[in-house]
Symmetry: C2
Subunit: 397 residues, 2 copies
């Protein structure tokens, strides 16, 4: 009997130590620095992977409608917060490979952010229009910021929500044409600063990687709205006036993602709207200094972390192709066709690999960014956004 | 008997799950994104801490002479590689809180680096002069690069070793006045590119955060040597000629650390040598555009990750003070005295906290970078360098 118990003891201990088989090393430990997730639209799930041996680790299901889903990470790299289109906010333990909690916080939402100190998760909602803020530990509600505008108490859809230094969130009101800053220093009492008349129909926004400049794209006008968060008293000013948005010569198949902006060396690269071009902008003056003809309407234009290359994917029907721009020569140095519906690109933080989701091929491909060779392929169910835990260490992601 | 066994089983399982008491949460998992280590010179140990609740987690001893020690991290954030002055290279499992392996790889060394893909750890040695490269998994030797120069086969001390994109290491030969690039694409057969006559006595170097510019300080001349790694064929050129190094009007108590450079917005901040000044440099032209008078001879001038502030510490005998420079106004906006012998400063990756080691007070203090309030104090044995796992995600650290 004693011997049997010892056997059971050994088995139990081994199982306990190992956790979910593939997730932790045999001694029960695993670092989180090389982990990531890919959204699987087809199955309402995320797949967890690691970038060292480039293997799949686990799948977490039951996350609802994940079309246009995105994610942020806890400051310790252990938890992913996934924002679904259906208003779902899911907290996933990527080390344990399981769903910790899921709430339906609104009827229709469009992304989120995590505060500088990691304590607050904010979601931007279409319905009801506004931002809701949750405790990142418990997902309990902390603050509700309805996007009220005008005189009739209407609520605006909210887009372009980002975190900024100083425990702030910044976001744009699509219907109202406003930019708001929410200072969350006292979490239950957000201090809101509103900028009105910033331009018509801001549809998305970006924040520079130092957290200084917040820039909203305008669907209703031919220009962008820029707020210098170091000088908020100066207000919002128009930049890139007449940059081509208003020409409307080509049908716009899909609005580009402004989060897919790229700073490389002294230049910023932005996907043009509705045109087969990537815009080159000089960030000191915010003037356009060049345009690079590309294969289709660009969706994401993402800089390799060292800034030497910008990788671009495209809107339907030209979405089977990726082009690589050299940021010194501004020439396209490589082009390839990973497959139908290339939806997203994510670099490892030091830039040696890029992970690419190919939705219609049900594949995530990993490429060496120097040789352009494919290193690995993972099977995934209609993969879209790819997010690495390294984002936890970045401002504005 | 069965009941007793159940009790034992429960206890064993609990211990196994918890691992070293403070290191893992009760379910055996812990993310590594918020971990860090501080070098304890007094006891030849490192202390492991986390930055969320700001608590000490463990101490790892037996690391030899840790004066002037530094560290890099594995790409998964689990392991720290500590470079000791005595030639010791220690691999620490920071999740388990234990020393995995320690080798004495040389007689006298001065820092190291980890390759872009995380597979190689390189150490720069004074004695025997050169660089030795090890497998990061096993610490087995992979390549030996003796710093041979001149006609007599002498070996030069090696300083300023950094990693660069493309699986390269870059370093300077102090005695030879050379800069070498080692391409480690085939680890056992490094391809070395040598730049000779770069200037007298390079004593330290920095690489910009995009991995493009490698800049060596020259002890023997009044200028710095710069290599553009995007245009290596152009060779090394002299920058900041006559910037004041050669005036020698003040005794130099301690050479500044060039790794303690700071890019903030469009400017670079460098500690002056031997002068009570921080130099402001315009990185497009590499010309000095200003000098900021400070409290003493600066050692580190480190940018808060959003670039809005630069924090400066000083050489003996003025090393009890820290000053904070606002990078917009170039004015000192805050000054305080943490205690005697402030040796190092490390920001959390999104900049809300700064960790400061106060050697002679045996303290590590944590400050809120917005309010300048002290948030926490940890006891440490003659603390010096502080290193957070977020460095694993950065180029050149």
């Amino acid at each position: 009997m004693t011997r049997n118990w010892l056997k059971i003891l050994a088995v139990v201990a081994a199982v306990v130590v190992a956790g979910p088989a593939s997730l932790a090393a045999l001694d029960g430990f695993r670092g989180t620095g090389d982990l990531g997730i890919v959204i699987e639209r087809g199955s309402g799930s995320v797949q967890i992977f690691e970038t060292t041996a480039r293997t799949r680790l686990a799948q977490v299901k039951g996350l609802g409608d994940l079309s246009h889903a995105s994610a942020v990470f806890s400051r310790d790299g252990r938890y992913a917060f996934v924002f679904g289109r259906d208003g779902g906010l899911s907290k996933i333990d990527i080390l344990a490979g399981k769903l910790v909690k899921r709430i339906l916080q609104a009827g229709n939402s469009i992304g989120g952010a995590i505060s500088q100190d990691g304590s607050l998760v904010a979601v931007s909602n279409y319905k009801p229009g506004g931002v809701r803020v949750f405790n990142s530990h418990t997902l309990e509600p902390v603050a509700d910021i309805p996007a009220v505008y005008g005189s009739g108490g209407e609520l605006s859809k909210v887009v372009g929500l980002v975190d900024a230094p100083g425990q702030r969130f910044v976001f744009s009101l699509y219907d109202a044409g406003e930019i708001w800053i929410a200072d969350m220093s006292v979490p239950s009492r957000p201090v809101i600063t509103k900028y009105k008349n910033i331009g018509e129909l801001p549809y998305d926004a970006l924040i520079t990687d130092d957290g200084r400049y917040y820039i909203a794209g305008l669907f209703g006008e031919d220009g962008m709205a820029m707020l210098d968060l170091w000088k908020p008293e100066k207000g919002v000013r128009r930049i890139m006036d007449g940059y081509g948005r208003g020409e409307k010569k080509l049908p716009v198949y899909k609005m580009p993602h402004l989060e897919g902006w790229a700073r490389a060396g002294d230049l910023i690269f932005l996907p043009a709207v509705g045109r087969h071009e990537v815009l080159v902008v000089e960030p000191k003056t915010w003037k356009e200094v060049g345009r690079i003809p590309v294969h289709g309407q660009p969706i994401f234009a993402v800089a390799r972390p060292d800034g030497r290359q910008v990788w671009v994917n495209f809107a339907h029907p030209r979405n089977d192709t990726v082009q690589v721009i050299d940021t010194e020569s501004l020439k396209i140095i490589h082009e390839f066709k990973p497959g139908k519906a290339v939806l997203h690109l994510e670099f490892t933080p030091r830039g040696e690999q890029v992970w690419i989701s190919v939705r219609d091929a049900d594949r995530v491909d990993v490429y060496d960014t120097r040789t352009f060779k494919r290193l690995q392929t993972l099977i995934a169910n209609k993969p879209s956004g790819i997010f690495l835990t390294a984002r936890a260490n970045r401002i504005g992601l």
